[in-house]
Amino acid sequence: MKKNDSDCHAPDDVTCQKLILDQLLAYEDGSMPESARQDFRRHIDMCPPCVEFLKTYQATGKTLKMLKPRQIPVDLAKAVLSFVRARCEKEK
């Protein structure tokens, strides 16, 4: 199949599939060893689809970072203590 400029031109040793499904998280969280990192970058340099993929994956990470734990109901600790004490009384 003839490739366009916007297709992947990286060699087959690191495929887009391997890069995206198996390596991307380690690349993003910094746990990937330096040599593998270089292979990763080499692929990216020759692969416009993976560049685009990386951008939206990173944007997903940024979006998820905006989510914060829910506001805790006021007096939740008191409610828990009352609940447990009431159950204890009931079971006596």
Binding site: C16, Q17, E52
Partner: protein, 206 residues
């Protein structure tokens, strides 16, 4: 005068085992927020999450004698908390979850991609209003995930729990944790891509 050092989890556990009410109060004080948030991730409803929190502490109170002190307390108790939330979730009508594999990126038979698989919407996160909307959608997408993926992404990306604590609580390996987290994020990415594509099309049409 130096302040009294905070008792460790294990000291509180031993206090509760010995019937010390104050130790139980301190444990509630220390863990109620985290337990509530964990439960909320499963139940997505404040009232249910509050009741699951009460259930979790009631189980803690009754079952503390079974806690093996060679284990870490938090992983035992988070497991108790998740079970309390799962138990409440089972009492409600089941919410259908997605088949995550169907949303993972597709590749050619040689493992490469041709053109980009989705439109690049990454610029949207630079705009605060758009980013907040996307975050709200992302929270909904997390809720659609099968529990094994939902709990991992919720605990890591929203609760910001350390990876090793999550793996220990869920009794899975670190590689399994990473695999689930990555697939959950890929799912959220795919769904956000669909939402942003829909919004772009509406703009063109409108």
């Amino acid at each position: 005068m130096s302040a009294e050092p905070e008792p460790s989890d294990l000291e509180l556990v031993r206090g509760i085992k010995a019937g010390d009410d104050q130790a139980f109060e301190q444990m509630v004080d220390r863990y109620h927020s985290r337990v509530y948030s964990l439960a909320y991730g499963v139940l997505r409803n404040s009232e249910d999450a509050e009741e699951a929190t009460q259930d979790a502490f009631w189980t803690l109170y009754r079952k503390i004698g079974t806690f093996d002190e060679s284990r870490k307390f938090f992983s035992w108790f988070y497991r108790v908390a998740l079970n309390a939330a799962y138990s409440r979730a089972r009492r409600r009508p089941a919410i259908p979850t997605v088949a995550i594999e169907e949303y993972l990126p597709k590749f050619r038979s040689d493992g490469h991609m041709l053109a980009p698989d989705v439109r690049d919407w990454s610029v949207a996160v630079e705009d605060e209003v758009a980013a907040r909307e996307l975050a709200a959608r992302a929270e909904g997408f997390i809720a659609e995930l099968p529990p094994a993926y939902r709990d991992v992404i919720w605990m890591y990306d929203v609760e910001e729990m350390p990876a090793d604590q999550i793996a220990e609580t869920l009794e899975i390996s670190i590689p399994a944790f990473k695999s689930r987290l990555h697939r959950a994020r890929l799912y959220v990415r795919q769904r956000l891509s669909e939402v942003t594509r829909g919004a772009a099309q509406e703009k063109v049409a409108g």
